[in-house]
Symmetry: C2
Subunit: 200 residues, 2 copies
């Protein structure tokens, strides 16, 4: 583990959420896992909510940056979208709790914090989708779908699959989603969504 | 409200979860909402967990029955699937908490209860998807997708959209998902998924 105590705490929180399929976090579990005194949470983040907010920033910040860079690339729109969907699947494989964490932060935070999350993450993603779909429609490649609804279709497919680890573990005696299953789902999702969007 | 105190308690629990976008429920809130003494929860359901389990049974039972009846119908497979996707969107519009409730029950229940949920709901749904996809492939209408992965795509799209009420309310000053938005999302989802699945 690198990056000092602050990063160690964020890594530990991320590991606990991923392994437990939960966004409920106890400070004692966190401090045990990170091998650090839980007073450091107060020092670095103010409180547990501050730590969860910092974790959200770390994960979502990367998504927004990557998506912006991808949309700006000189590349056919359908190839951009394929790469984006592929990235979304990989992100949810690594951080299956991500959407639940964001929903929780939006619901339980003060209005000013919810507005900040919307400004920094949701709105840039929304604009990137608008741009990408518009580009594809202009190029005669995409059907004119609603970008916002399309965004729900893409992230919904990824979020639901990885939230299903729980079902696999408790109902089908399957320990976890393997890299092979992730790869199969990546191909499936790209195939289904791209065929749904592209003009024949 | 009809059906006596038991149904009144289930209706009240459903209303609270839908309006609050939460699956956290307090007995005092429930008793206030239903206009009934909270001791009746103990009488009818044993405890709060029993009530949540009964609510899950009521919602999921209908889905499994409807899906089974649809698959058994003498109707082209693509028409069955269109109707099914339409029904899934309507179900999540009415019970946006449904998937989160099921995940919670699977995670927090004893293994025997998790196995019961799998047997009664997840496995029948899984078998119905297998049958429906197989039928469409045999008829030369569907691409040979993995039915389990396809199931995740369909329910993921619906679940994610309605879980997003929270985002609309807190980030975009939109009070709720209107019937018009539901209808637009229904058309969008059917279009995207059917085009993704059908052979050109």
């Amino acid at each position: 583990m690198t990056g000092g105590a602050r990063e160690q705490l964020l890594d530990a929180a991320s590991d606990i959420m991923r392994e437990g399929d939960t966004i409920d976090l106890s400070l004692s579990e966190l401090s045990l896992r990170a091998g650090l005194n839980s007073a450091l949470v107060k020092y670095y983040f103010g409180n547990k909510n501050g730590l969860m907010s910092a974790l959200l920033d770390r994960n979502m910040g990367k998504i927004v940056t990557d998506l912006g860079a991808l949309v700006a690339k000189d590349m056919p729109p359908e190839e951009k979208l394929r790469r984006h969907i592929s990235g979304v699947i990989d992100t949810y494989y690594t951080f299956p709790y991500l959407n639940r964490l964001m929903m929780r932060m939006i619901r339980d935070s003060a209005p000013v914090e919810a507005a900040r999350i919307a400004e920094r993450y949701l709105k840039p993603i929304s604009r990137a989708y608008e741009k990408l779909i518009e580009e594809g429609v202009k190029a005669g490649k995409f059907r004119p779908v609603d970008p916002q609804l399309f965004y729900f279709s893409v992230t919904g497919a990824a979020d639901r699959f990885f939230a299903a680890r729980l079902v696999l573990r408790h109902c089908y005696d399957q320990a976890d989603i393997s890299q092979e299953m992730r790869d199969a789902y990546r191909e499936h999702t790209i195939g289904l969504i791209m065929r749904g969007l592209l003009i024949d």
